[in-house]
């Protein structure tokens, strides 16, 4: 591969970083650029809740500091937003009107908070806990506040609720059955969850929906549900799942459903464009369907596959270590490449909280989640093992 080739990775999360560093490991001369709209280096999103609680400081959020990219000759463009992909001319149009040429592209743009259509009128009243940008200045507000309203019910919501109640805050949770998108919680599931969360002391509302959120002049909000429950809250948080962050790629010619459609090699419909992580929908030959996946280990595994294939290999993603989430006693299967009939509940709820494994050293990550059909690849691996 000529060294002048430019490998551009959109996204600075676990998938993007895995792709970049795997590529660097396999091609010391590759010109690699990561572009991220966030103004912060690689950090662990799952730790944001602990950061908000004041358990950890910003440095503990960080997975990789900018120096790590310098040392690996990976260019990091932070605070730069990709607006459009021009597949014909192989270039990206950035928000500040710069174009960036690529030879091969990896889209690892992750996911963004899901704003329910019914909540759009109240978007300005809602606080998200999806990325670092969302929560700047929030630590102090949480520390100072007393009453909080949590709307939704995904994994982060429950963790956040526990954190708030642990801090002796008054919390109301309105459990929304479709919060764990794309799954819908059944009544039985909701009951299990409510039973498990009851011990936190939070006031939990079910079978209800938000009606209005009215900001108060002196700060805070008045929340009213459709069942007529009225609550005053210092902040209203929403946790209704994540959706692939692919708006910038729509209309460019890539096949996109919810996420960007890729095969098991993380290739899109175009040979030189890859997608991985939670922005991708990966084809499962057993299910004969495209399915999104979430979780840090999945993202890393997919990023590694993308990185290897960028380097000229032909690898397929196999399986991640975690396949089920424990949603307050409810097991929800989220990974797609496992045989649909097999039941494997190992790993449980640490998946979305995969930050606890400081999983940035991709060089040392076991390769069991990647299968390379390329014999040359096997030979290379053997050489490495023999070192």
């Amino acid at each position: 591969m000529p060294t002048s080739d430019h490998y551009v990775i959109i996204g600075n999360g676990p998938a993007g970083n895995a792709a970049a560093f795997t590529l660097r490991e396999n091609d010391p001369d590759a010109r690699i650029t990561i572009i991220s709209h966030e103004n912060i280096s690689f950090y662990a999103k799952p730790k944001l809740v602990r950061y908000l609680a004041g358990d950890i400081d910003k440095s503990a959020l960080m997975v990789k500091e900018p120096d790590a990219y310098l040392q690996n000759n990976i260019r990091l463009r932070l605070g730069q937003t990709v607006m459009r992909i021009d597949l014909q001319n192989r270039c990206l149009h950035l928000a500040h009107m710069e174009t960036v040429q690529y030879t091969r592209l990896v889209i690892a743009s992750g996911s963004r908070a899901r704003l329910l259509p019914s909540m759009k009128p109240y978007a300005d009243c809602l606080t998200f806990v999806t990325e670092y940008n969302d929560i700047k200045g929030m630590r102090e507000k949480i520390a100072a506040g007393k009453h909080f309203f949590v709307f939704g019910g995904d994994l982060v919501a429950f963790k956040f609720l526990k954190m708030l109640t642990h801090m002796k805050k008054q919390v109301t949770l309105l459990l929304y059955p479709k919060a764990f998108w794309p799954h819908t919680l059944t009544h039985a599931m909701q009951k299990t969850i409510v039973d498990n969360l009851a011990r936190t002391g939070a006031h939990i509302l079910v079978n209800d929906d938000l009606d209005t959120i009215v900001p108060e002049e002196q700060g805070g909000y008045n929340v009213t549900t459709q069942q007529g429950v009225k609550k005053q809250a210092d902040l209203v948080f929403t946790f209704n799942g994540l959706i692939p962050n692919v708006d910038f790629a729509r209309g460019c010619g890539l096949d996109i459903d919810h996420g960007i459609l890729v095969d098991e090699t993380m290739r899109t419909c175009l040979e030189n464009v890859f997608a991985c992580g939670s922005c991708a929908q990966i084809y499962n030959p057993d299910l004969t369907a495209y399915t999104t996946s979430i979780g840090w280990p999945n993202a890393v595994a997919q990023g590694k596959v993308a990185g290897l294939n960028l380097a000229g290999e032909t690898c397929r993603v196999q399986q991640a270590g975690r396949k089920y989430f424990d949603l307050e006693g409810v097991k929800i299967k989220t990974t797609w490449w496992e045989d649909a009939d097999r039941e494997d509940t190992e790993g449980e709820d640490t998946d979305r909280e995969g930050n606890d494994r400081k999983d940035a050293d991709f060089k040392n990550t076991e390769r069991k989640d990647v299968e390379c059909k390329d014999t040359d690849r096997d030979r290379k691996t053997g050489e490495k093992d023999g070192r």
């Binding site: 103004n39 912060i40 280096s41 990091l76 730069q80 270039c91 710069e98 174009t99 040429q101």
Partner: protein, 624 residues
Amino acid sequence: MKTSDKEINIVFEICGSAGEGTISAGEILSRFMSAQGFEIMSFDAYPAEIRGFGKCVAHTRVSSNPIYSPGKLADVLIALNDNHAISQLSALKKGGILLYDSQPAKPHEEDQSVVARADAATISYGVPLTMLAQKAAGNARGRNMVALGAVTALFHLDRDAFTNSIKDRYGKKKQIVIDSNVNSFLEGFDWTKENIDKADGISFQGVTPPQTKAEQKGEKLIINGNQLVAKAALDADLKFYAGYPITPATKIMEILSKELPKHGGTLLQTEDEISAIGAVIGAGYGGIRAMTGTSGPGFALMTEFTGLSVMAEVPAVIIDSQRGGPSTGIPTKTEQSDFNAAMFGGTGDCPRVVLAPTDTTSCYDATVLALYLAEKYQTLVVILLDFFLSNSIRNIDVPQKPAPKMLNANIAPDAADLDGYQRYKITDSGISPRTIPGTPGGMFFATGLEHDAYGRPNYTDKGHLAMTAKRFRKHASVLAEAPAPVISGMDAGGADSGMGSGMGSSVGSSKGIPDKDGTPKTLDIGVISWGSSAGAAHEAVMTAAGEGVSAAAFSSMMLSPFPEKQLAAFAGRCRKILIPELNYGGQFADFVTKIIKRPVERLNFITGRPMAAEDIVEKIREMI
């Protein structure tokens, strides 16, 4: 000086192309910060070409504490022009803040945007400067005001007060101009507040400016060295200025061309610098206070006439605002490389007085003192400014007007002297009573030839020796009434050694570098500096002292004659000596070495930028 609990110390840089309002934006920012009660130090870098689209940088340091140097690296870079700002990124601190135009008029090629070239640690904020300016005023001229609006929102500055600063700045313009600028500012403010997710920790919220500043709000001068020189000259009864325009001294002449006639004086723009100094000597001979201003190339041309001033004992003041040299050199960059030329330039044994202000405030003191000394000692006085001192803007206390004795210094002959009047009478002080032409009985020869006491040509060895010695004796007399050198640093008890009365103890009251020497009797490091590097030296030793290093700084506005005894005494207390200066080899270091007769460490830069305290601190750390 009382400081607030929350302190602030920020360096802003605005970078754009000539004509984009870069310098104006920097000036407005500086004036606003000063009006808010903060200490400021700012300077501009701009292209030498009169016309063109070169790079401009407005550099402003803002602090809630006293500041003595401009700061080496910027905390915030505001890019009005991506092409130029790319080259300015090297002056942005690691982890610094970049504010750029996120929707420029023309698309960027790959890597041609400033944000693309920013270090990964840089916190970048994209604000649609062009789009918002268009929205506010129908054209892009207000991009600089949009940027200031963004800065105001981003760092929690007082929006209304800033708006008033803009109105003040454009108060004399048409209403449409004021409205355009204010609207652009407000667009930038509102957009940023609405759209930018702040990722940095800089905030002026809760920062109380120094109390003394707040108390004295409205009694401050926001002024640069050139303006202060002109003001001082007028206050010191200057009556004649001759000059030929040259960067960075031109502004002095510009100001005086308007103001001097109002004070009963005359300004003459000559055909070159030789004529200018000739006219000044002529005016001095005529008995009025006269001055010229130039830079290195002009000073070189004046050299022959400087000898005449000394030999004929005619008062003359030359301001040499140094720039990068030799020859035409680098007109808009600062340097301290005319030291040797000012101290020793010319032929023969030619004792002259050389003063070097160490900060903006002392530009006033030095000018008053120069006119006084030239008149009293009937000799040449050179003031060594530099590009940085000439152009850097400070907010300072209004200087006290010179004492009456500083305005009338000529020692006139009494009736006995006029009996057989000896214009060049041999005296202990070296000063011979001087008549002004037209004084009955006071007629004399004035010549560049060596002469006797009457002014008549005299080439005898004894006569030449006597007259040379007489001229040199003036040095001792000058030194006796010169401001003492400043020794500053952390005192032995660990506190800042206090605020003294500044450099010009006898001529002004402006506050400058603290000059009460309470520093320990023995020091690890002594930093000896001159001119505009002295502020950085003082700040550096304070920083070093904070790190446990026993260090102090020595500087003297009086370069010739030099306070050698005080220098030797200071050097004797120092284990090691460091001399930072802005020239290639260390002209001042050579001079000092001859006095203290021991080796010194040198720190020399010819980058065109002012001396940075950070560089001196780094050198001190190396030396320890």
